[in-house]
């Protein structure tokens, strides 16, 4: 479980005493307080906590949209200085797809502007990625004609095609209906396993966290502090409803919500 710590290999993403502030009208508010975590190659780390625990802020900092107030964030040993296509974000909002581009255009766009591929190369890669998420039939449609699930699939295909060091997902399935969400979660796990994707995933849903993560990082709210780190690597889609899955879910729930009562 602690193989990462002893391993000499540099982690893909590493936060050390990471502290994040944000400005409000009434002054500076601390969102995240001295949080440590690291994500190893091929690992799926889920940041889990109630709203206000700063999990989205951490993801924004990892993407380079937000500068740490103190502490450090390193991507493969280099300090993160700003946004870049080596960390692609999949947002919760459906309008992350650019409405003026077709599905194919949305996926080729970062390949053209950030990776500098030719149109032909970009389209080939985009088609492959879209095929992988099951969208081969809607290549030339505009996003407004797609369902919410298809939009999120397109966003995932766009991230996959760009081949980032780490994929950052900010509650990507939160706005979907329950059935679509489950299907998307299962597909994501399958793709992540197959392509050995390194993933940082933010959610407030415990079952989603247990399902998707190979490790959970639990955060408390106001400000976000580390509560515990949980290994859930053995649990997959097949375990939903099993006694073990339920037990882990209950343990996580207890850690997150009964902490004050227990203390």
């Amino acid at each position: 479980m602690n193989a990462i710590a002893t391993d000499a290999v540099v982690p893909v993403l590493e936060a050390r005493r990471l502290t994040l502030d944000y400005e409000t009208e009434r002054g500076t508010v601390r969102a995240v307080d001295e949080v440590d975590f690291s994500v190893a190659e091929g690992e799926r780390l889920v940041l889990l906590g109630p709203s206000g625990c700063g999990k989205s802020s951490i993801l924004k900092a990892a993407a380079g949209f937000l500068r740490p107030a103190s502490g450090t964030l390193h991507l493969r040993g280099r300090e993160i200085g700003g946004p870049g296509p080596d960390r692609i974000v999949v947002f919760q909002e459906f309008d992350q797809l650019l409405p003026w581009k077709t599905v194919l255009g949305n996926v080729t766009f970062p390949l053209r502007v950030a990776r500098g591929l030719t149109r032909k190369e970009a389209e080939e890669r985009a088609r492959h990625a879209l095929d992988r998420v099951g969208l081969a039939r809607v290549l030339h449609q505009f996003p407004h004609t797609l369902s919410g699930g298809m939009k999120q699939r397109t966003a995932i295909a766009r991230a996959l095609a760009t081949d980032p060091e780490i994929l950052l997902m900010d509650e990507p399935f939160a706005a979907l209906d329950a059935l679509t969400r489950l299907k998307m979660q299962q597909d994501l796990i399958e793709i992540a396993d197959e392509l050995k994707i390194t993933l940082l995933f933010v959610t407030h849903a415990i079952d989603e966290a247990v399902l998707i993560g190979s490790r959970l990082h639990l955060l408390s709210a106001h400000p976000g502090r580390t509560i515990a780190s949980f290994d859930t690597s053995g649990l997959g889609a097949a375990d939903i409803g099993s006694a073990r899955f339920e037990r882990v879910t209950r343990d996580v729930h207890a850690l997150l919500f009964d902490r004050r009562a227990a203390a």
Partner: protein
């Protein structure tokens, strides 16, 4: 007996073909609901009322009939320089419109990058908004004399402010997610503006172009009415003014019709076309 059979046959037919009946009704309703058909009906009714009113009045100097006006329109287009007047107006309009768009682009880029300049722009636009651009014509004539320069001055003034405001509002309402997506791919500077900001703000930009065009066209015709005196080419406004002075009332109507037709044509072909090719196709038209 035959009656009963007939009725039975009707009932059977009705039961068998409800779908085709619905389609027949649907086709008529569709025709009535279609905008083009409705407009045609209104236009025909107007022409009929006009024709009747003119014949009752029986005074072509006060009110020429629709038929006379139509004849005058064709006549004036062929022999009296209506087409040249219209082209003259459009040429001046294009010069002023393009200059105004360029000026507004510079103003908006400054306003977007600096919050003080943005407030300045908003204050200026709010000040000049209730002022019809044509009201500046006397001043323009004082400063620039009788001629194209004065026309261009009021034209540019009519277009710059509404367009700049609409474009600024468009840039400011670009969704945060679009901005983050652009930054995520490492876009910055002109690439960011070109790939993210402009397409995302396009609905507002097109609507600004459209408002600017409408203001420009009205202002120009009004300005030409005031001092067609000096400009040799005249323009449509001057054509209308001149025809009235010579009591060719049917040509006045022909000139007005030309103003309306050109206005509608630009709206329907250029702006509708631009919208259909972009924001309508993308499903982002508000």
């Amino acid at each position: 007996m035959t009656d009963a059979i007939l009725r039975q046959g009707e009932a059977e037919e009705a039961a068998r073909a409800p779908a085709s009946a619905a389609r027949r009704i649907g086709w008529r309703v569709w025709l009535l609901r279609s905008l083009a058909v409705r407009r045609l009906i209104v236009l025909l009714a107007l022409a009929a009322i006009w024709e009747i009113a003119a014949r009752v009045q029986a005074n072509p100097i006060m009110l020429p009939s629709f038929a006379e006006t139509a004849r005058a329109f064709i006549e004036a287009s062929l022999h009296e320089g209506l087409v040249w007047s219209a082209l003259g107006s459009i040429w001046v309009l294009l010069k002023g419109y393009l200059a105004a768009i360029l000026i507004a682009t510079v103003i908006v880029s400054l306003a977007v990058s600096n919050s003080f300049l943005r407030d300045t722009l908003q204050t200026l636009a709010a000040m000049l908004n209730p002022l019809p651009a044509i009201a500046l014509l006397p001043l323009a004539m004082l400063w620039f004399g009788l001629g194209e320069k004065s026309l261009l001055f009021v034209l540019i003034n009519a277009v710059v402010w509404p367009f700049a405001l609409a474009a600024l509002q468009g840039f400011e309402s670009v969704p945060e997610t679009h901005r983050l997506v652009g930054r995520n791919y490492g876009l910055s500077g002109m690439a960011y503006v070109r790939h993210i900001l402009i397409p995302s703000a396009l609905p507002s930009i097109i609507s600004g172009l459209r408002i600017g065009w409408a203001f420009a066209w009205r202002t120009l015709i009004a300005a030409e009415l005031v001092f067609g005196v000096s400009s040799s080419s005249g323009g449509l406004g001057w054509f209308i003014f001149k025809s009235r002075n010579e009591l060719f009332t049917d040509r006045v109507f022909a000139g007005l019709a030309a103003v309306i037709l050109i206005g509608l044509l630009v709206e329907a072909v250029i702006f509708r076309g631009l919208e259909s090719a972009t924001v309508r196709r993308w499903g982002v038209l508000k």
